[in-house]
């Protein structure tokens, strides 16, 4: 029998601590599974979420993520929007380069996360904060019966 995924509702999760990062990963995994994402796709999205949430915490001084289920025709997806009111990014192009780092990491946070999702957008104002929005789409026809 086909598994009928549970409903996925929009949610806002705080990003203030290590424990919040773990919670964001678990919630994103659950939503992706409910939307019918395959295991590899789930893993990619959760990893991207982990990178971006850590950016929000470490570089943005904390913030939140909005988790929103989205649809495009019969395709279903998940949109994650990470927002902080930290120092912002002065040179976005430079920050998106592999190996660029300001926090002692491997410098793969932004550029790596971009490769793990289908859509990627960044909105930053120096001194005001940064919002990174990513979307991943479930491949093919979803296993649920939307609209029924």
């Amino acid at each position: 029998m086909m598994a009928v995924p549970g409903p996925v509702t929009a949610a806002r999760l705080p990003i203030r601590s290590d424990a919040d990062l773990a919670w964001v990963r678990q919630q994103v995994r659950q939503c992706a599974a409910d939307l019918g994402f395959g295991l590899v796709q789930q893993t990619k999205l959760v990893t991207a979420a982990s990178e971006l949430a850590r950016n929000t915490l470490v570089h943005g001084g904390g913030g939140h993520v909005d988790v929103t289920p989205v649809t495009r025709g019969v395709t279903r997806g998940l949109r994650l929007s990470f927002a902080d009111s930290g120092p912002g990014i002065r040179d976005v192009e430079l920050a998106m380069t592999d190996g660029y780092t300001s926090g002692g990491g491997l410098g793969l946070g932004l550029s790596g996360a971009r490769r793990l999702v289908d859509e990627f957008g960044i909105d930053t104002v120096p001194g005001r904060g940064t919002t990174v929005t990513v979307t991943a789409w479930a491949p093919g026809v979803p296993t649920a019966r939307p609209g029924l």
Partner: protein, 292 residues
């Protein structure tokens, strides 16, 4: 009474009728092809399934929304209807055919409804029958929608299965697996190849994995990139990946495109790749000394 009120009271009466005659209707429907063909284990099972549908219809009728296919009254049977249409679809029935079978459920109940009515000529009797017809029309649409969705899912499943069938993971030796690639590699297929190879490595505890591209007509930079990603992912899991069967023309293209395949271990043929893996595993293969 306004027209609206008349419609609603007719619907409620219809709901009450369905509840009252639940057992009789279910007994009649259990013999209809729609249920009989799907619930083959026992008649009892078919009767139970029919009762669930009658209950759902009674619920929808009582709510007064006879023509609303999104009515929550149908929620309790959507799964069951989904399984039924799946079974019909697998037998090759089109959604239209399934819808016809639903329509055939109408007349046995209409007979009962007519028999219940003290005066078949009275306007109430005609209204009741009309309301029931509308309700069955709605059920037919619900089933049709379910069947159409399940058809789309079937196509998607078959497409996915085809991709997987096209990329078998073969055990060549204990600890050595191979994927012979034949045909054009696009992005979706490369993804499936990568996943099945890595799953194969785990399932067979393989230390060596051979990707044989003898049957791949062209290698562009995208395909080369996928090959390198597969090799890197296999290494992270603790297995070594060997790419074999690079034909001279393809070797030339790779060089001309400026693709650096040097991190990838390559061998001319599948046999060479297997020989390499065996020697690394410490296995020697030599011709048996002639006994004659």
């Amino acid at each position: 009474m306004s027209e609206q009120e008349t419609v609603e009271s007719t619907a409620r009466r219809l709901g009450a009728f369905l509840e009252l005659r639940r057992e009789q209707i279910a007994q009649r429907w259990a013999d209809a092809p729609l249920f009989r063909t799907v619930f083959t284990v026992s008649r009892e099972e078919a009767v139970e399934a029919c009762k669930a549908v009658v209950d759902a219809l009674a619920g929808v009728a009582s709510s007064g929304r006879l023509e609303d296919i999104t009515s929550s009254g149908f929620d309790s049977v959507r799964d069951q209807l989904g399984r039924m249409t799946d079974a019909w679809t697998r037998m090759g029935a089109s959604p239209a055919r399934i819808a016809d079978e639903v329509a055939a459920l109408r007349s046995p109940v209409a007979e009962l409804l007519r028999a219940e009515s003290p005066d078949p000529a009275a306007p109430e009797a005609a209204e009741g029958l009309l309301a029931f017809t509308a309700l069955m029309g709605t059920l037919r649409l619900v089933v049709m929608q379910t069947a159409l969705t399940s058809g789309e899912e079937l196509i998607e499943r078959q497409r996915q299965q085809l991709l997987e069938v096209a990329t078998p993971v073969i055990s060549l030796w204990e600890g050595v697996v191979a994927v012979p690639l034949i045909g054009t590699l696009d992005s979706a297929r490369s993804q499936v190849v990568m996943e099945s190879l890595l799953e194969g490595i785990v399932a067979r505890r393989a230390q060596y994995a051979i990707l044989d591209i003898t049957g791949v007509p062209t290698v562009d930079s995208l395909v080369a990139q996928h090959l390198m990603k597969t090799v890197a992912a296999a290494r992270l899991m603790g297995a070594e990946c060997i790419v074999s069967g690079i034909r001279p023309a393809i070797a030339q293209t790779i060089v001309q495109l400026g693709i650096d395949l040097s991190p990838v271990l390559t061998r001319a043929s599948l046999a060479d790749a297997l020989a390499y893996a065996l020697s690394r595993l410490g296995i020697e293969v030599s011709p048996r000394a002639s006994t004659r």
